[in-house]
Amino acid sequence: MPRIANSIVRRAYAQDPLLPALLGVCRDLSLAANELRWLREHVDELPLAPAPRPLNTSTRRKKRIPNNDKHRLRKIKEAKLRDLVKQRSRGTPLQYLLGTEFFGELELKCGRGVLVPRQDTASTIAHLARLIRDPRNTLPNELRVLDLCTGTGCIPFLFGHELRETRHDISYRMLGVDVSTDALTLATKNLRRFQRKPSSSNLFNTSTTEAKDDGEREDGHNAKGAKVLANFMWADILNSPFEPQIENTPLPLMSAMNLARHPPFWDIVISNPPYISPDAYRKTTARSVRGFEPRLALVPPHPSTIPSSISTGVGSYTTSWPEKTIDTITQDAGDTFYVPILNIAAQVEAKVVLVEVADVEQAVRVARLGENFGFEGVEIWRDRPDDTDEAFPSSPSSPYPKQHSQDSSPGITKKRETKESKNDIPIVGAGNVRCVVFWRGNTGAAWLGKETQNDSILRSESHAMQPSMSRTDKFDGRYHADALLLASKWKGL
């Protein structure tokens, strides 16, 4: 990394003596100034107890802290701030020091041992939710989102928040899965926070919503209307039910889901799994990420350490692979999680799947896997998938002629990139390649706003079919107990 110019260091010092220390991690004066401001605000808000009063003070309660106490408090806070700046300058992620991170419109608790949610993830998740919540979409009475590798739980929380911005007509069921108990503890804390403060999200902001803990859940619906059911579960998505289970280690996903009586079918599967190969971890991953965020959240285990039925999916959902595909998936050590995830998505009969990826090369490799799991549609999204002409149809009332393509002012990159394709896979939006989206069947296509062959028929029909053909009825145990039994036998549950 290039050294920071002396002139900038001097300017920083003149602004604030604490500032130069932050230049190394921030690489930019204005960002360093922002970080210092946020750290200072954080320290100011800390509930620091004033020094204990000497016993011989008068019995009359003094409202104002005596001057020397105020002085002490200021000293304590200054010391605290200096300490935080020091930690930050050594690479500790700012969010660990502040204890929270913003994820779309939500503020989430975060902490050491759990990956800090990334803003890029938030924008793709918000976009997906906005597509799904489209008023023209016919959604099931209970929309179910399964998030594999959930970390802080940020993904299903934000999805639900965005969904319920407009759709209060349906229930939302979310299940976040992680192998790390630290992550699950944090995710549960976040859930409690949203429950305690309903105004902090759309999830629990009406009296009709409720969340249930793992274990004591309710089946089906009551007449009261739409609700939110949020759960987190300890499971290992790389574990196979056909291998001997070791005590005190997380169960395979399907076994854990079955044991906790979670529904076996989910509409949408989302995952931001560890996707950095050991090589890329060493070479292209930021020092402060490597040094402070858990490796478990970033680098997949070596394929040789996981059952082959899991790493190839063979024998589970898919029965065979074209030779070429096998080569593709074994080619990069960062790809380990995608086959198991797509396999699970196929088993739970997901209509839409979104998985995050590192770059366009990984995106293309992953996109190619979809076919083998029955997904008919695939698309690659960039960091800002909504950033297209299509998503922002120009308003006819705009008084300005369009001329944006000629613009080339410094510091501002061209905003719009229309769909382009790499190996025939559409790439949507602006920014870096961020995720791959799969869909299956007319339902999946319609939810994403894709024109299907019999699109018009589907839309009019599905309206007519509601609610008798809704998913809830179809899989409701009271009406289709035998179908459910058959299904679970079939899946080896």
Partner: protein
């Protein structure tokens, strides 16, 4: 000094504003004369999102899990007018995007309407209000002395809403909630108050 008045507001107010679509089309009706007939302003400029270049400063690079960015700064450029606004007040990029759009809307209006723009009017109004609040303070003091008149009582009631400390909040609230109406109300109110 922080020049953005929004940064001093509690987040709750942000969130209310956040629910609004990024393009605002509210209309203002107010009169510059004490007369009752409110002359409508031309409809508020619609900012076409296609006319905006959005840039997340320090937002380039690989992204994803490999890096943990803390920058939430947002820069908007309005292509037709060349106006550039930047917002980096909060750690929430989503919030900064909304604030930046609001600022841009104001700048564009200022450019197009000059003295007639909402911000210009607000600024004028604010200085007038300060004057009138000072005047009210003096009146209240007099009232305490037992010199209260009927006219002053009426204005005194209104004065509760124009407390010096709340003025910023009130103003922003008005702008975010139903700016047209609020503006009309307070400007009418102003006009009733004789200039000091």
């Amino acid at each position: 000094m922080n020049t953005n008045p929004l940064s001093r507001l509690p987040l709750r107010i942000f969130n209310d504003a956040a629910r609004r679509p990024p393009t605002y089309t509210w209309r203002a009706t107010f009169s510059t004369t004490p007369s009752v007939s409110a002359k409508p302003l031309p409809p508020r400029r619609v900012i076409d999102d296609a006319d905006i270049i959005e840039n997340f400063l320090k937002g380039s690079g690989p992204g994803g899990q490999k890096i943990n960015k803390t920058s939430s700064a947002v820069q908007l450029k309005h292509i037709p007018t060349g106006i550039v606004v930047k917002c980096q007040d909060t750690r929430s990029r989503t919030q900064n995007r909304k604030t930046a759009r609001k600022l841009l809307g104001e700048r564009i209006e200022e450019l197009e309407l000059g003295e007639q723009s909402r911000t210009a009017i607000k600024a004028k109004q604010k200085s007038k209000k300060k004057a009138s609040a000072d005047k009210k303070k003096r009146r209240k003091y007099r009232a305490l002395q037992g010199e209260k008149t009927a006219e002053e009582e009426e204005e005194g009631e209104e004065g509760e809403e124009v407390g010096v400390d709340e003025r910023d909040n009130g103003q922003i609230d008005a702008r975010l909630a139903e700016p047209g109406e609020e503006a009309a109300k307070s400007i009418d109110g102003e006009n009733r108050t004789k200039p000091v």
